[in-house]
Symmetry: C4
């Protein structure tokens, strides 16, 4: 059900919150486990830069993960992400609590997810997206599928697309050319 | 010796146990070793989700690995996998002990492996499978080769295929759309 | 604005310093975070060999990173890199301090970067370069884009190209064939 | 200077020792460094299986690395590799000491390497090989380039090729089909 570029631009206007799944969106969808029970995740630096740009442009960024992980908490802290919902096996319930708490509407939220557990939230938000390597059932049900794969720029590409849709990208670029 | 879709559906009906090799099936087939003797493995989150769905659908899931690794034990515990056979250099003997212990028949088991050590068990089970990047001698001898590679969704794809063959996939999907 | 091979050769002549961004240039642009706050980065051994060859050929090598990381410090020490500027959110200011300190001119420096934060320095140096997988806005603004991707030989390829441009490659090769 | 299949078979006959570089041959050519000075390397399980088969078939296996790493020592121990030469910046000198010590001739050794530092030994041995992603100067100077890349089966493919050349592969396969 992919939408046109004009429709995506229109859906980008009311956004206040860019919400992201973690595994398979901010990471490749793999987890590395060692023999001591430690667990690590691998994040993209360029995804992180885009998250900071979105925040500077006035958007909130949040994480919504079914799995709880200290690595996620640390990456969120590093990027100044304050909305971090982890270990939420029922993502729709967590999403509804968040919106009630903040007083936000569905059309003020974009969400990117990659697997079946993300479908209920993807069906609710104003703008839904998935990485190029999301599972087929998700790709068929979102507004926008990025060309980049998860952990390798999917989040960066989506944020850049939203900022362009709101006419904010040239300012991001200019702030770097002339810092 | 790949089989038709109809034959695969037929072989999926009597299954009780989905048994998986670890290295090269649940992982990319690499092991990361540090200077302190620690060892880590990298698993796919989407493979893990599918294992949980198979269990909820009433199938047992088990692991059969030639190599013993604490990382494997931890991943198994996380996914609620209770049949974990590790350090089994003779996989056929381990397989036979398991079936004798459980009272299961060969046609009630599916096994996915990637290397020569897996051939004796692959030759026995009702439904044999391999990832897209299994070694050639294995690919030539299994019922089904997935399109996905090991550690990147081969297990997910196979479980989804088995659940579809048994008519159980729509229920999995529906349980996510309306959790 | 890519330049011809002859122009690249000409720009290679006055170089004294080969300066490299770290994330997305010396690495794939990913960072692995564990639950204890540890962070690791993955470097290419062949990139490292080329850095040593450049130093032996009389060129200085330096690192200029927006992010501070102990892993970067350790890799730099291992390769004998003494110019290590980390945690520099304003790369242009750091670059200008370095040149003032050393008494070097812009045309004596080559810089390779991959993201918007690198643009101000890329616009200043005598020879600017980016890996094959740098972001589009950077690729459009550098003299040279390598065929290799970051963390998989982009630095090696660029150093080899500079050494060839200065007529120094045959000596590197000969020193290995007859050590 | 690649040779014909018949020439490769002929060069496989006198071999006693299969010698391998580590970084870029047994691994992808990357090293992961953490903030505590730890270092890890990633090895292929299927490469390891082939090393064990070669040993069982009566061949010695050895490692010759320019870089010293505890991870290499541990992987070697795990595979029962007793010839482990590490931290050898002059590989030819280390190679000559080994041959003098063992009383072996050049035509009794095969060596696989990926970078310039390997050229002197590659020029000496009876059978020289490189992974598909070795640097160009090496690929041009070896008898055989594998289709697989380093860390993803190059060593496995080469060992399998040598064992086939000596007529030993069918026995390896048969020992697995009927363990």
């Amino acid at each position: 059900m992919s939408i046109t570029a004009e429709q995506l631009d229109a859906r980008a206007q009311p956004l206040r919150l860019l919400l992201f799944d973690v595994d398979g969106v901010l990471t490749e969808g793999t987890v590395t486990i060692d023999g001591n029970g430690g667990e690590s995740k691998t994040f993209s630096i360029r995804d992180g830069a885009a998250i900071v740009w979105a925040q500077r442009a006035g958007l909130e960024v949040g994480l919504l993960s079914g799995r709880a992980s200290d690595a996620t908490s640390r990456r969120a802290a590093e990027l100044g992400i304050q909305i971090v919902l982890q270990g939420e096996s029922n993502k729709r319930a967590a999403y509804e609590r968040l919106l009630a708490d903040k007083g936000w509407r569905d059309d003020e939220v974009a969400y990117m997810g990659d697997d079946l557990i993300d479908l209920p939230v993807l069906a609710r938000v104003g703008l839904s997206a998935a990485p190029a390597d999301a599972c087929a059932d998700v790709q068929q049900r979102v507004h926008h599928v990025t060309q980049a794969t998860a952990g390798h720029g999917a989040v960066r590409e989506f944020i850049e697309r939203v900022l362009r849709g709101r006419g904010l990208w040239d300012a991001v670029l200019a702030s770097h050319v002339n810092p």
